[in-house]
């Protein structure tokens, strides 16, 4: 579904991704792990073109999205993204946050969008917060809303950029529950995460990135129970 070929991304003189070649298949749940600054988030952000790669190609459903002529907006409509800091629109109610893009992009009528949004809100148990503003919500509630906001576009893939890193510990569980549910519904997902337990449980494949390169990838059992790469072994010994 997503094919990444020789992806290089530099910020000035700093090479963040040093040639990543990978593939995400339909239905896969890929957990991307690795130390801070290893390039995990940059890789994710390259996938929906929030960062423009310097070299290499990315194909999404057979279309080369790194082609300068490719319409990035239309690509992003098919890729949901969830951010570490939620990034709910502060000037809009929860309902408006969810319905904005589908309505403004004329994918749904306002009526359809509201109906869909309310159904999504009831799935995450926040029906009563439809008219609340983001400032009135807890971190966990904000992130759950951010997830359904992305889902409201009916994306083909969901990208999660450290979705629980900015949360108080007691709120991590409620957000992971929602992600778990999305995964169970068959969504193709790429999750950058520090939650190793969650990666082991939900991911169908784990990708370890260090120094801008994929050092090892495989099923969670192999990665966590029998890591081969020495940097991965060292990383796991520190985080688990």
């Amino acid at each position: 579904m997503i094919v990444i070929e020789g992806l290089v991304k530099k910020f000035g003189a700093n090479t963040v991704l040093g040639g990543v070649t990978e593939r995400v298949r339909p239905g896969e749940k890929v957990a991307v792990i690795g130390p801070s600054g290893s390039g995990k988030s940059t890789l994710l952000r390259c996938l929906n073109l929030l960062e423009r790669p310097d070299e290499g190609r990315i194909l999404f459903d057979g279309e080369e999205i790194t082609d300068p002529k490719c319409d990035a907006d239309s690509v992003r409509r098919r890729m949901g993204m969830v951010f570490q800091h939620f990034n709910l629109f502060g000037n809009m109610t929860v309902l408006k946050n969810i319905t904005l893009a589908p309505v403004k992009l004329k994918i749904m009528t306002p009526g359809e969008a509201e109906e869909a949004a309310r159904a999504l809100l009831s799935r995450i148990g926040l029906t009563d917060k439809a008219d609340a503003y983001p400032a009135m919500l807890s971190g966990g509630q904000k992130q759950r809303v951010a997830i359904v906001r992305a889902l409201a576009m009916n994306p083909r893939v969901m990208l999660f950029d450290e979705p629980t890193s900015a949360l108080d510990p007691e709120m991590v569980g409620e957000v992971l529950d929602v992600i778990r549910e999305v995964a169970a519904a068959g969504m193709t997902m790429v999750i950058v995460t520090h939650e190793m337990g969650f990666a082991r449980e939900v991911a169908s494949r784990v990708m370890f990135i260090d120094g801008g390169r994929v050092k090892e990838t495989g099923p969670p059992k192999e990665i966590f129970d029998a890591p081969r790469d020495p940097r991965l072994q060292e990383f796991l010994s520190k985080v688990i």
Binding site: N48, L50, A72, D73, S74, V75, R76, R77, M79, G80, M81, F83, H85, N87, L88, F89, G90, N91, M92, L100, A101, K104, L105, Y133, P134, A135, M136, A146, R149, A150, M153
Partner: protein, 240 residues
Amino acid sequence: MTTAYEAVTAALEWLTRQFTITFITGNRYKLFLTGLRNTLIIAFGAVIIGTFIGAVVAMIRVYSAQSGKLRALDKLCGAYLAVFRGTPIVVQLLIMYYIVFSFIDNGISIAVLAFGINSGAYVAEIVRAGILAVDIGQTEAGRSLGLSSGKTMRLIVLPQAIKNILPALGNELIALLKDTSVAGYVTVKDLAQAGENVRTLTAEPYFSLLFVAAVYFLLVMGITKILRIAERRLAKSDRH
């Protein structure tokens, strides 16, 4: 020896006479009314032009800085700011009247334009600061949903920027209203000019000038009040 009674009578007489020659004789109150009308026309016209120019210039500069595109237009905007913030408004007004639009004899229209273009330079910097103060995550979230940069700016960033800059915009609006008092330089009969006119006609400075000062003061108080109401309305998403 004058008694207190006589002193009061004399004072009342003086006040009555001053009032009469300032407002009644020769229907001079009409001069003030015309002046007030012209001042309001210039101020409101200039606010509309200034806000429009300011918003457009600010968006061009922010977009150019973020995307690296529209470099030439960005330079042009920079030159506009330098010129119109770098020279006195009176001089700009005179140049507009006697050079740029020397073929048109309509002081009010030229004043509207001159004050609007001048104010636009200040508004541009205020709006730019407001846009930059909105978390970049808001833009990224909008773009990640497939909204274009224009839609993201208009629907998400700008409304939040305006909320942040309302006090600064209020300052600019108040300064603009008072700045229009130099419109008399190009033969416009504005409020200040009306006061000056009546001062000359009556050969008495007190009522004419103090009255004009009081009217400006009340106008500014009115603007302050309206801005405070607007601020309170926009702050509704901040309530916890």
